[in-house]
């Protein structure tokens, strides 16, 4: 065999591999049916019911297949999935949160990612969709920018303290209405060898301390700022992070954290509902979105609810509510028509009722009758409370390090761990804050 034969063979193979590979990448088989790709973060009850809804959608529209992708959680991998979906062109419908309130002077420097995408035309305008008038105008406004409705807000969550009614009865405890009473209750439980509070930070980080610091900010600080709108007061410089109210909040937060389960930083957030249902603590700091998971884990469990009482004035202690999962149609998505069909299907009375009853959110659709486990647990607080939009500012994704949304909560944990004092942390937040709000 001559030298040329293997050499020529190698050359041919190289060329085939190179150009053949490129050709294979460029080849697209003709589509025999349509697809609509929907992405959202992992909330087990929502994911379960959405899979069922997707199957029903496919049954109604056999030529449209739903590609459903999830990632856990909003602070981590799902944020990556959102970012890559926005930059690519393969996703039609994306789950986000409501965009309002926007900063007073929205810009790349002070908007959250989702706000940035909304204000730069990456979500389609939905004003003319048939379902719009069936949804509450005040809820729709939380997803409206310059008159353009940019998403379907599926409902409202409530966050606060969920408690084990049997345990409370066993130790003759009653629902606390003030901060002082709440701490006394926690001490009482601890004396009985019961873990008072449960919260898990593993895989989600100190952002889940928001179940403590957000209600405290709402109850202790918000009533004392102009217009009772803490978000606006901070965003316009009418109040600062060095406010004595905020110092008091961090001190109280540190006290409350002492009653969490041991090593709460390492407890996975996904296991919170199951651990609570398993009786590992008397109270769970959480949002109503997890109630369905608690109910699934222990259907016989009797659960009650009260707002975390951060103030010693009971009238200020009301739950926090906020816009839940919000569907947006991506402007660069491949199949707008199918996306509109999916949203229309989702918002139809029967399908939407299934979703609300299973997930346990407060509905945003006008009318209808709902029977969720969450509705029974929340009782008079179902859908009632102070909207988080008037409490905590949407922190920017980049800029001064400690004012970034992903870094801000880390200092709250550091206060608990004794690394910094509340005063030091307040100064660290405030140091470059004027740069954020200018």
């Amino acid at each position: 065999m001559s030298h040329r034969t293997p050499m020529a063979g190698a050359m041919a193979a190289s060329l085939v591999l190179t150009f053949g590979g490129v050709g294979a990448l460029a080849f697209r088989p003709a589509a025999s049916s349509q697809t609509v790709k929907v992405i959202t973060w992992v909330n087990p009850p929502a994911v379960t019911i959405l899979k069922k809804i997707n199957a029903e959608f496919h049954h109604k529209y056999p030529n449209i297949r739903v590609i459903f992708q999830t990632a856990a959680n909003r602070a981590g991998p799902y944020a990556t999935l959102e970012s890559t979906s926005i930059r690519g062109n393969t996703v039609d419908i994306m789950g986000t949160g409501p965009i309002q309130p926007l900063p007073p002077h929205p810009s790349v420097n002070n908007e959250s990612n989702e706000q940035l995408w909304a204000t730069h035309g990456l979500y389609l305008r939905l004003n003319n969709q048939p379902w719009v008038k069936q949804f509450m105008p005040n809820i729709n406004r939380t997803e409206t920018y310059q008159g353009k409705l940019l998403g379907l807000v599926t409902g409202t969550y409530t966050q606060g303290v969920f408690y084990n009614k049997v345990m409370f009865a066993k130790y003759h405890l009653s629902v606390p209405h003030t901060y002082r009473a709440f701490i006394a209750l926690c001490q009482n439980l601890k004396r009985h060898g019961v873990t008072p509070l449960f919260d898990g930070l593993q895989n989600v980080g100190p952002g889940y301390l928001g179940f403590i610091y957000e209600p405290l900010m709402q109850e202790v600080w918000r009533p004392h700022v102009p217009g009772a709108n803490l978000n606006r007061a901070l965003s316009t410089g009418q109040t600062t992070w060095t406010s004595p109210y905020f110092i008091k909040i961090m001190q109280r937060e540190k006290t409350i954290m002492r009653y969490l389960e041991p090593n709460f930083q390492g407890v996975p957030w996904q296991s919170m509902p199951g651990d609570f249902a398993d009786g590992k603590a008397a109270m769970l700091l959480d949002g109503s979105w997890d109630l369905a998971a608690v109910h699934t884990a222990n259907p016989k469990m009797k659960v009650g609810f009260f707002p975390l009482p951060g103030s010693n004035q009971a009238k200020y202690n009301v739950p926090m509510v906020g816009g839940d999962l919000t569907w947006v149609v991506l402007a660069h998505g491949p199949n707008h028509a199918a996306a509109f069909k999916w949203l229309n299907f989702f918002s139809s009375p029967k399908i939407y009722q299934q979703y609300v009853d299973y997930v346990g959110i407060t509905p945003s659709r006008i009318g209808g009758t709902y029977h969720s486990f969450a509705k029974n647990v929340l009782g008079k607080w179902f859908g009632k409370g102070v909207n988080s939009a008037v409490v905590f500012p949407d922190l920017p994704a980049s800029g001064p390090y400690w004012d970034q949304s992903s870094n801000w909560p880390k200092l709250q944990l550091d206060v608990y761990l004794g690394k910094y004092t509340p005063k030091q942390v307040a100064h660290m937040y405030q140091q470059n804050w004027p740069q954020v709000i200018r």
């Binding site: 030298h3 050499m7 020529a8 190698a10 050359m11 190289s14 060329l15 591999l17 190179t18 981590g76 991998p77 944020a79 990556t80 970012s83 890559t84 926005i86 930059r87 790349v108 990612n113 940035l116 995408w117 730069h120 035309g121 990456l122 898990g200 930070l201 593993q202 895989n203 980080g205 100190p206 389960e261 041991p262 090593n263 709460f264 930083q265 390492g266 407890v267 996975p268 296991s271 651990d275 590992k280 402007a331 660069h332 920017p396 994704a397 980049s398 800029g399 001064p400 390090y401 400690w402 970034q404 949304s405 992903s406 870094n407 880390k410 761990l417 690394k419 470059n432 740069q435």
Partner: protein, 320 residues
């Protein structure tokens, strides 16, 4: 031997075909063969250029812009603003990341190599069951990062995981991956566990290449096991040491995937690679700043790897 003229056979018969015939400068291939050789290299070179050189150059350029990659948001040239940002308003994060990176990389490089040497020395011996242990040590190397992350997250779950239950016997508890004290050592441990097999493999291949006679002579001279390892094995596997140390150092300086699945960069595990990933893709989606961190990481990697490589190469030349 290069350059020395081949010796003529004593019989005066024609010399056998020499690979060096035609002159040392021209090599094996000449003329059209040489052209064909370079032509055959083209696809590989093109792939390296497109997937290696161009992205690297693009990263350097992007670090001078405010590029987000988001359609509709223009990218502007901002000069060294991202670098200024890294050393001013982002400095608390960058400083911690550099410290975390250096601690992680130095611990992984040293412990992984020392452990791998010990394990390789044990597995070198031809004793019953050695093949099983070799396979066992190498097993983690074939597991995906996500599997490894899930596995260790379950083991170190403070709420009922096996490690927590074991520690409870001694009335000790910790948050493991949620602890500011233990998260970094545990991530280092998992990184070593997952990479140990490959490192051992390289050392084993080096040890197997050492002539058996050297060990026999050393034994005949009455050398103890430690002295044989110290004066025979270790010097003779110098090339393996170079490969393993460099791979561990460079790999651990750039790591982000394992940390992403174990701690997401929280609790003092925010290495520069992790910080870069979060800045570019997760948190801010700020590719310009992410590229800046990437350039900083590249500089640190070069500053560590080049002197290390020079030292290890000199050591090889001195020993062998």
């Amino acid at each position: 031997m290069v350059g020395r003229a081949p010796e003529e056979p004593a019989s005066g018969a024609p010399a056998p075909p020499s690979p060096r015939r035609g002159g040392a400068r021209t090599g094996v291939f000449q003329g059209r063969q040489r052209a064909a050789m370079y032509f055959s290299m083209l696809p590989g070179a093109a792939i390296y250029l497109v997937l290696g050189i161009v992205p690297s150059a693009a990263t350097a350029i992007i670090s001078l812009t405010n590029y987000t990659g988001v359609p509709g948001i223009p990218a502007n040239f901002v000069g060294i603003q991202n670098y200024v940002q890294a050393f001013t308003i982002e400095w608390p994060g960058v400083a911690h990341s550099i410290i975390d990176t250096l601690m992680f990389a130095s611990a992984v490089t040293v412990v992984q190599n020392v452990l791998a040497l010990l394990v390789a020395e044990m597995l070198r011996r031809r004793v019953p069951g050695v093949a099983f242990f070799r396979a066992l040590i190498f097993l983690p190397a074939v597991l995906g990062v996500t599997v490894i992350g899930l596995l260790w997250a379950l083991i170190f779950n403070p709420s009922g995981g096996p490690a927590a239950n074991f520690l409870r016997l001694f009335h000790v508890s910790t948050a493991f991956f949620g602890s500011n004290t233990w998260a970094l050592p545990l991530v280092i441990f998992v990184q070593i566990w997952s990479s140990l097999g490959f490192t051992v493999l390289v050392y084993l291949s080096g040890m197997n290449a050492v002539p058996v006679e050297l060990f026999e002579v050393a034994q005949l001279d009455g050398g103890s096991a430690w002295n044989i390892f110290r004066f025979v094995t270790f010097p003779m596997i110098a090339p393996s040491v170079t490969v393993d140390v460099l791979l561990a150092a460079v790999g651990s300086l750039n790591v982000y995937d394992l940390i992403y699945v174990l701690t997401d960069g929280l609790y003092h595990t925010n290495t520069l690679g992790m910080f870069m990933f979060n800045s570019a893709f997760q948190g801010s989606g700020n590719l310009g700043f992410g590229a800046t961190l990437s350039m900083m990481l590249f500089t640190i990697t070069l500053a560590v790897a080049l002197p290390l490589q020079r030292y290890l190469r000199k050591r090889e030349a001195r020993i062998l």
